[in-house]
Amino acid sequence: MKTLKVFPLVIIGTAVGAIISVLLIVLRTLPVQASAEASDIDNLYIFFLGFSGVIFGIVVLFLLVSVYRFRARPNDEREGINLHGITWLEVVWTVIPFIIVVLCGAGGWWVLDRNDVEAQARSKGQVVHVLGQQYGWKYDYMTKGIELKEQQELVLPVNEPVIFEITSPDVIHSFWVPAWRLQMNATPGQTNEVSTIPTLIGEYDIICAYLCGVGHTAMNSALPDSIIPKVRVVSRADFDAWIAQQKTAAAEVAATASADTAVSSS
């Protein structure tokens, strides 16, 4: 009976797996990290790729080696070894995955908790009501002193916490900004809260991630000719300027509207 030593193969498998892990990590393609949470989440992902590559390497190496090494020759009437199990080995391959998933769970919980704690600290942040509807987004700035309603565009100051209160008047949408690693459904009948800190000035895509009807595809600012404006993160000064500009515009609209009413009623 030809048997190979198992331990060297585990070592080789781990090495091959490590190479796969490194490749996966080096070749990972992620959007730019534009929020305070992004790096934590990406580090989780790198950790996943790390152990996934090793497990995949070991499994596939054993698969290929057993299929090649123990292959049947033509008209081979031999039988395999009559081995029904090795208890310690089964314990090992129960415990190791257990440790890995505990690490995953702990990591996930830690990141989640950190974000939750930060979210509480952000209670003084900018509050923005997000209305996802068929087929577009509307933003109400609720913070005292700003109070700007029904904006088509989401503009935020950099490095300042923001709390999104998300809802929908019609069907489920999902507010997804991949650069912030953030997604939350806009569910009709309830308000879902989620918060973040944008850390990078720039323009980012906002995508509706939940199928919401015939216009779902178009609710994606990444499409060419999209009518959905990208999310803009700007400096505090630019933000203040934008607010002032929007307020003037809103006042003008209101003035024209009341003038129209006055004209039509006279």
Partner: protein, 622 residues
């Protein structure tokens, strides 16, 4: 003339419309009698017609003939086996109580549905091959993708395993048939009704809210949405009836000597699956009923403003639909255990661990449903417990993978097509399992949920997992079912094309999702164009590879080499019978004297079939 009165498809052609017409008449007449507008809305009449017509179809095919005769005091011969077993191909189009005939009916019908569902995917993959909208309207696109999901899940993957189990399990446990043969036939004949209901929804404005059919979008959809809700209920009813049948069969009808730990692992897997089906499927039936009542009767279970809540639907839906994932993979695990042990000539490594891990997955499977809802706005405290239970389920799954590796190691591995699919399955399923661990972790999940990363993950699990096991099972038991060998060369071509094309189709989707391509869209950021083109080409190759399989199966059934009783030298009971097995399976009750995987043991046997006088065999068979 008599053909339209006997239980045949010809009788269905008039009974089903008659039932539909009577139901419409009763509805209209009842409303007219109490002085209301006789036809309030056409959709109500259509719903009534579909329900009554579906029952009419099952009546027409003969699903209730025996019970009706019994109930009305007619004469019945308990030894009348005229509906049992197939003598010609025509018998496969009739109500038949033989588990082997039903198994073939299931497998062929569901595989045709697989091809139909695959076609839908081809159509929308051609739309996705280039950026910007081309040939399809958004309505058509959303309809096709919803149909693809529903057909694949409810009339292919769930029932195909019921079909394989139907054929193999009574043979494996040494039984003459399933416990309730008439119920068994009835469950099968509900499936064409379900498929008809789902597919004809195209005529009335297809359902277009994805396979999940979440309200409130489902309340806006065309009438097809009601047919989706109806069709899923029908498929669910079929599934529950089959599961009850499996449970009773496996628990009560095992041959003497077949203790729990002498059961083949496919039987273990089906026992766990059936328990899961019986406990979970009523939840989706409930969700579908409530959603249908909302649409057709103006109730307010899930409507906003009427006191309803859309999140409730998601909870109830996933309380079934996550266990459904295990319903679609556990029997596949069972198949892999059979295939790997038999073709590698080695006992399953850690039999009890594999058996218990099926049970463990079935139990844990009930505590993970909300991981589909991390971004739904559900109660925040639910996230961490669900994440932990979801991660834990990776452990029993891992045990199975390692046990199969341990089984291959030190065996004499025959790379038949069946075993190739089993080995290929381990490769692809590990990828799906590892990405499953990733998406279980809440912060990572909310960064990519509803994106192509999820599409990649569940296609690796369902195609790289379930469908690979289905193919392994098809090739493994093909000689038993047809009595002939399939063509190994074509089988190998089928495997390699499928394996390569499936990886090229689904692996790049991970990257698309991470970079920000949402699922269920018909257009995307132009920077994803080349990857989508690659995926579409690979998907067409994947679709074409099934043609090799279909040709091989059909051609070999007539022209293949004769297989003999036991071409793989398997030890389990089905290999002790002729191929195909006689109508009533075993001439005498077999006795099980050892475990099912005693490979490599000199002269070892799993069971013996006591000698019977040939005359008595003839009598039972006639």
């Amino acid at each position: 003339m008599t053909a339209v009165l006997k239980p045949t498809l010809a009788r269905c052609l008039w009974v089903a419309p008659a039932f539909a017409a009577i139901a419409i008449l009763i509805t209209v007449a009842a409303r007219a009698l109490v002085g209301m507008d006789p036809v309030l809305q056409e959709s109500t009449l259509l719903t009534v017609a579909y329900i009554a017509g579906g029952i009419g179809f099952v009546v027409g095919i003969g699903g209730f003939d025996y019970w009706w005769t019994w109930m009305t005091g007619g004469e019945l011969d308990p030894n009348d086996h005229s509906t049992h077993g197939a003598k010609s191909w025509r018998d496969y189009f009739k109500f038949n109580t033989d588990h082997k005939v039903i198994g073939i009916q299931y497998v062929v019908f569901t595989f045709i549905m697989f091809l139909v569902g695959g076609m839908f995917a081809m159509v929308f993959r051609s739309e996705l091959a280039r950026p910007a909208a081309q040939s399809l309207s958004p309505e058509q696109y959303n309809g096709l993708l919803s149909q693809h999901g529903v057909i694949m899940i409810f009339v292919f993957l769930v029932p195909v395993f019921a079909g394989i189990g139907n054929y193999v399990i009574p043979l494996m446990i040494g039984a003459a048939d399933m416990a309730f043969p008439r119920l068994n036939a009835l469950s099968f004949w509900l499936l064409p009704v379900a498929a008809f209901t789902l597919l004809t929804s195209f005529m009335f404005g297809s359902f277009d809210a994805g396979w999940t059919g979440y309200p409130t979008l489902s309340q806006q959809s065309g009438y097809g949405m009601t047919l989706y809700q109806l069709g899923v209920q029908l498929a669910g009813a079929s599934s529950i009836a089959t599961a009850v049948n499996f449970l009773v069969t496996i628990i009560t009808m095992r041959a003497p000597g077949m203790t729990l730990f002498r059961m083949p692992l496919l039987v273990w897997a089906n026992l766990a699956t059936s328990a899961l089906v019986v406990a979970a499927t009523p939840f989706i039936a409930g969700a579908m009923f409530m959603a249908m009542f909302d649409r057709e009767m103006g109730t307010h279970f899930f409507t906003i403003g009427g006191g309803g809540d859309t999140l409730v639907y998601q909870h109830i839906f996933w309380f079934y639909s996550h266990p459904a994932v295990y319903i679609m993979i556990l029997p596949g695990f069972g198949i892999i255990s059979e295939v790997i042990a038999t073709h590698s000539r080695k006992p399953i490594f850690g039999y009890r661990a594999v058996a218990f891990s099926s049970a463990g997955i079935a139990i844990l499977g009930f505590a993970v449903w909300a991981h589909h809802m991390f971004a739904s706005g559900m109660q925040p405290w639910l996230r961490v417990p669900i994440m932990i239970s979801t991660l834990l389920i990776a452990i029993p799954t891992g045990i199975k993978i390692f046990s199969w590796l341990g089984t291959l190691w030190g065996g004499v591995v025959r790379l038949t097509t069946a075993n190739l699919f089993a080995v290929g399955f381990i490769f692809t399923f590990v990828i799906g399992g590892l990405s499953g661990v990733m998406v279980a972790v809440v912060p990572f999940d909310v960064s990519i949920t509803n994106s192509y990363f999820i599409v990649a993950h569940f296609h690796y699990v369902l195609f790289g997992g379930s469908i690979m096991t289905v193919y392994a099972g098809f090739y493994h038991w093909y000689p038993k079912v047809t009595g002939r060998m399939y063509n190994e060369l074509l089988g190998r071509w089928h495997f390699w094309i499928t394996f390569v094309a499936l990886n090229v189709t689904f692996f790049p989707m991970h990257y698309l999702g991470l970079l920000g391509m949402p699922r269920r869209v018909m257009d995307y950021d132009p920077q994803f164009a080349w990857m989508n083109t690659l995926i579409s080409i690979a998907a067409f190759v994947l679709g074409a590879s099934t043609l090799i399989f279909v040709y091989n199966m059909i051609h070999s059934a007539r022209h293949g080499k004769l297989a003999g009783a036991n071409p793989w030298a398997g030890l389990t009971l089905e290999w002790m019978l002729s191929s195909p097995p006689p109508t009533f399976n075993f001439p005498t009750t077999p006795r099980v004297i050892g475990g099912p995987y005693r490979y490599g043991e000199e002269g070892a046997r799993h069971a013996i079939i006591p000698e019977a006088e040939p005359a008595s065999v003839e009598k039972v068979g006639a």
